[in-house]
């Protein structure tokens, strides 16, 4: 806990953290100071003047809250008439050349300018001269579409490119009312975090080409989730909506602030990984190319178990800890060797020093924590002896090429338990559909050994089962989540003091 100091806001005493600027310090206790250019990740810039607050006694009478550290005994004025006039006038100034095309703007509904106008301004435009027109719908590259007219020149995007990604593609060119954000001709946005500028932009100047016009933001339900794109496990907001007569679909992933894991941002690849949740999903069980019910699929697999001479179970490193523990007990029940072989998930040299990791498996640390062997030799040895391979959503095609996979599927019977209808699982003798990571609750351990839990975010019309439930149906002994968690506690010692609901939302650093 940081040191606490006391100061006054509008005459009321509040206790805030020391060492922060006024926006963050007072914002933490729920009092909002309007701001456009300030962003905690990018620091203060002080160009928008929206956050000007009054100080009684000592110091200048007007200070930008973003640049002013909170100090003991400070008397901050937020609702004085002259402060209200400043906010009112700043907004009128920002809106002089703003096209006010909220109806077609994707930001409408989550736009600071819109919200502030409603809260602090609310007047009609007094301008009689024609507005300055600028370019619209400019392709900045990396799926970022820019509208210069809507821009309030807060410079967040420019600072993001210079400070965070250090690629500096964006700049504010020209001056006065013709100033605009632009790329240098021939050098468009080219970094793996570029779409974050869309989230950063307080107005609708930056829009994502991927999300553009797909949904109005107020229709969408927002749930917390954890990205399974790599072993970083970035926190995300899952924006989804069930449109009339349709299935629940995810429309975008947005970064969710988590200081321990990802800060304020996520990479573009992870952001776009929502598509896998919507497309190419396996919805029905299949026995040698014919669709069957789940009950029949379970009976068929139990028959396969009896017939098989030796079973080997392969588990995906994307599974949650609960799923791993259920499958592990299933393997023990069947007396089958369990392997987490997933060398294909590691892309050497793909990671960077910021968020992206080489290892594209979300929960490899979980495999280690549960003592599941994932060496190639052990897997291949076990496979050579077995007649039946049960593959729990492990994408073998990342490691083996097609011909060796074909050979494998010819020699062995294969049961695939998967959420995606990929080529690999189309070759399997029997496939059983399971939920994908946005559709179940669970916990994973990331590359920094931080355990994060997440809850089911969306429920499809025909909601497939969780993989641990499938494991239970196939004869696994852990039937309920309670059982799974108890077993988990026995293996992972550092979880002993915690229950699923006492694990902090920001993640638990395992020792």
């Amino acid at each position: 806990m940081a040191e606490m100091i006391k100061l006054f806001v509008n005459g009321n005493e509040v206790e805030v953290e020391a060492g922060k600027n006024l926006i963050d310090a007072i914002g933490a206790v729920g009092i909002e100071i309007p701001h456009l250019c300030y962003h905690p990740a990018l620091g203060a810039d002080g160009n928008c003047r929206m956050c000007l607050v009054g100080l009684e006694e000592g110091g200048p009478p007007l200070v930008p809250a973003c640049k002013t550290p909170a100090a003991e005994g400070m008397k901050v004025l937020l609702d004085a008439d002259h402060i209200k006039k400043i906010q009112h006038d700043v907004l009128e100034f920002q809106l002089i050349n703003h096209p006010v095309d909220c109806p077609v703007c994707d930001q409408a509904g989550e736009c600071s300018l819109q919200d502030y106008y409603m809260t602090y301004d609310g007047q009609k435009s007094r301008m009689t001269v024609p507005q300055v027109t600028k370019s619209k719908k400019m392709d900045f590259g990396c799926g970022v579409v820019h509208d210069q007219e809507r821009c309030v020149l807060c410079g967040r995007c420019v600072r993001f490119c210079r400070q965070i990604t250090r690629t500096g593609e964006l700049g504010i060119v020209n001056r006065t009312d013709t100033a605009r954000v632009a790329i240098f001709p021939g050098r468009p946005l080219d970094n793996r975090y570029a779409v974050n500028v869309v989230d950063l932009c307080p107005v609708g100047a930056m829009t994502s080409a991927d999300f553009r016009f797909k949904q109005r933001v107020w229709f969408m339900k927002k749930e917390r989730g954890v990205c399974h794109g790599c072993s970083r496990g970035c926190n995300i907001t899952i924006d989804h909506n069930r449109e009339k007569d349709q299935d629940d679909l995810i429309y975008r992933f947005r970064p969710l602030f988590n200081e321990q894991v990802n800060g304020y941002f996520i990479c573009d690849e992870g952001r776009l990984s929502y598509r896998d949740e919507n497309e190419n999903r396996l919805t029905e069980a299949r026995l040698s190319k014919t669709t069957i019910s789940l009950d029949r699929a379970v009976t068929a697999s139990l028959k396969e178990f009896k017939r098989a001479e030796g079973i080997v179970i392969l588990i995906s490193p994307d599974c949650s800890l609960e799923q791993m523990v259920s499958i592990k007990s299933l393997a023990e029940e069947l007396g089958a060797p369990l392997s987490g072989f997933s060398d294909g998930y590691i892309k050497k040299g793909d990671g960077d020093d910021y968020l992206i990791q080489d290892d594209k498996a979300a929960n490899r640390a979980g495999l280690t924590a549960l003592n599941i062997d994932s060496s190639q030799s052990a897997f291949e040895e076990a496979l050579a002896k077995a007649g039946l391979l049960i593959n729990f959503n492990n994408d073998l095609s990342l490691f083996y090429d097609e011909s060796s996979l074909k050979k494998l599927f010819k020699e062995k019977r294969v049961i695939g338990v998967t959420s995606r209808d990929t080529k690999l699982f189309q070759m399997a003798n029997l496939v059983i559909p399971v939920a994908s990571f946005t559709e179940y609750s669970g916990s994973i351990i990331n590359c920094d050994n931080i355990l994060q839990t997440f809850n089911r975010a969306i429920t499809k019309n025909d909601a497939p089962l969780d993989m641990s439930e499938v494991a239970a149906l196939l004869g696994g002994p852990l039937k309920t989540n309670g059982d799974r968690y108890d077993k988990l506690k026995k293996i992972v010692v550092s979880l002993n003091d915690f229950n699923p609901d006492t694990i902090p939302a920001t993640g638990l650093k395992l020792t």
Partner: protein, 168 residues
């Protein structure tokens, strides 16, 4: 104020000539940070070419080792940097208060009639370009006209006629 963000590309790579290269290397030592070199480098370019092309900006950015967007920002911010080719004689007429009161409009009107160009344009033969600029700092001797960096003070139409005849 007009939009200056549309850069013109020559299609040919830009490079400082020998003289500017040495000058650049000499100047860069004077600044603690290399980025401070942006404005002098832009001046050098304008000296060499008369205007600054997209390639020149890219070259400067790479030479200094900064983002092209930063050089772009600077070049578009300052109106003294010409982002398109100028006439052989670039005539700047001050339009700020003192000059305006001392009838700078007569000068502009005369030039418009004589050369046939509006402020901001270049004559067809490429000889003259005209621009109205903000205060040139010679208010005591207004109105003032600057031709290729050379000041002509207390200007009137007669003086200008003589001057144009000289230039022609």
């Amino acid at each position: 104020m007009s939009d200056r963000s549309q850069l013109i590309s020559t299609g040919e790579p830009f490079k400082f000539d020998q003289e500017r290269d040495t000058e650049f290397e000499r100047l860069i030592k004077r600044y603690p940070e290399r980025e401070s070199m942006i404005l002098p480098a832009l001046w050098l370019t304008q000296e060499q070419e008369g205007w600054i092309s997209a390639e020149a900006i890219a070259y400067i950015a790479d030479r200094i080792g900064t983002f092209a967007s930063k050089v772009f920002e600077c070049a578009t911010f300052y109106t003294m940097y010409h982002l398109h080719p100028m006439g052989k004689y670039h005539i700047c007429v001050c339009r700020t208060l003192s000059c305006w009161l001392r009838d700078k409009q007569a000068i502009v009107d005369y030039l418009r009639d004589e050369i046939g160009i509006e402020p901001g344009q270049k004559s067809e033969d490429g000889k003259f370009s005209l621009e109205e600029v903000e205060c040139l700092g010679h208010c005591g001797t207004a109105p003032v006209v600057q031709i290729n960096g050379e000041f002509h003070e207390e200007m009137d139409v007669e003086k200008l006629t003589a001057l144009l005849a000289e230039l022609n």
